[in-house]
Symmetry: C2
Subunit: 207 residues, 2 copies
């Protein structure tokens, strides 16, 4: 009943994008209805967990039937606030930055790179997939002026903290960090860290 204000555990929020991804995939297969059971098999979470996670936000299913895919997809997009597209600043125009700039999977899922920054004067001014690379000293004011609240850090570890500081000063509220180092930011700023090597290392433990 009293949904949406009861404080939802962060671990639940972390699963919602996976539910959303699976639903979009089902929809693109032409499917219209699914069940917690089917999602369970596709995703590897228990059906009870999926039902309980969704119950934090409302009642989206029909007893005896399941979930209308399009409806649940839309509901999750609104919960996650990805029913509109977010502009992002990309910092770092190395190999990784270029791969991210060329990745065409962002838009359909709610994100768009709006500008690219790099500190190397050899890269500033060059074109990457229609963006002209901007100098780092324009970072703070650019993101502030353009009201950009999301950023991707794709610079070497050594430079990451300073970039994060400038992003925060520019008003950025969430950072996707590819640098293999922990960032220290004010509590209002969210950081999601991607470290492929850490992932590999936690798998080799089991081998």
């Amino acid at each position: 009943m009293s949904h949406s204000n009861n404080h939802v555990p962060a671990i639940v929020i972390g699963r919602l994008p996976l539910y959303l991804r699976a639903l979009t995939q089902l929809a693109s297969d032409g499917r219209h209805v699914t069940s917690s059971q089917e999602l369970s098999e596709k995703l590897g979470f228990s059906s009870a967990q999926i039902r309980k996670d969704l119950s934090y936000f409302g009642e989206f299913g029909k007893q005896g039937t399941g979930y209308e895919i399009e409806l649940l997809e839309q509901a999750l997009k609104e919960i996650l606030q990805v029913h509109h597209v977010w502009d992002m600043a990309l910092v770092g125009a190395g190999d990784l930055g270029r791969a991210l700039a060329n990745y065409n999977g962002f838009e359909a899922r709610g994100f768009r790179i709006a500008c690219i920054f790099d500190s190397a004067s050899s890269k500033v001014g060059t074109l990457i997939n229609h963006w002209r690379v901007l100098p780092m000293d324009a970072l703070r004011e650019s993101v502030r002026a353009r009201k950009i609240y999301l950023a991707i850090i794709a610079v070497p570890a050594i430079a990451a903290q300073q970039v994060a500081d400038e992003l925060v000063e520019g008003g950025v509220r969430a950072i996707l960090n590819y640098a293999p180092t922990t960032l220290s930011v004010p509590p209002r700023v969210k950081v999601f860290h991607i470290d492929p090597v850490a992932g590999l290392q936690s798998m080799t433990y089991y081998l």
Copy 2:
């Protein structure tokens, strides 16, 4: 006392690489001793959690002093089995695959790309940072012959499951999956999934 056989929670294993990363960083700053308190501040986990995590594997600290960095670093490398370097197969020679092939942060942390595969005949035979791209139909036998147990999937979502199947048939035991789709593999095979968009979506929830 009876360490190392008591079943360690996966969530603990997932934090060890972060402890290791922080220790390596401290060591490269010329430091020799640290404490759970200092690591706590650097990493954002509680000091009690760090101590408890480490206690699953042994007693590495000195009361009143803390941890000898070099020693703990070495211990964690052995626990995670990254005291030697693992060969990996990289599947997918698109922008992401090339970025991974050019990434020079693998070796120092226990990994090395040994071969690269792609299905596009336009890419097969080309050179990427000294590797010659091999055709997909050589995948299964190559990884088997070279005893490669780790692979990175960097292909479009649509192709990912089939690639995973062939890797598994070739004897691969752990997969780092960059394709935005859930893979189904036998229980003995570990999968670590990286989906930057899912990370972004779980942050926009809070904005």
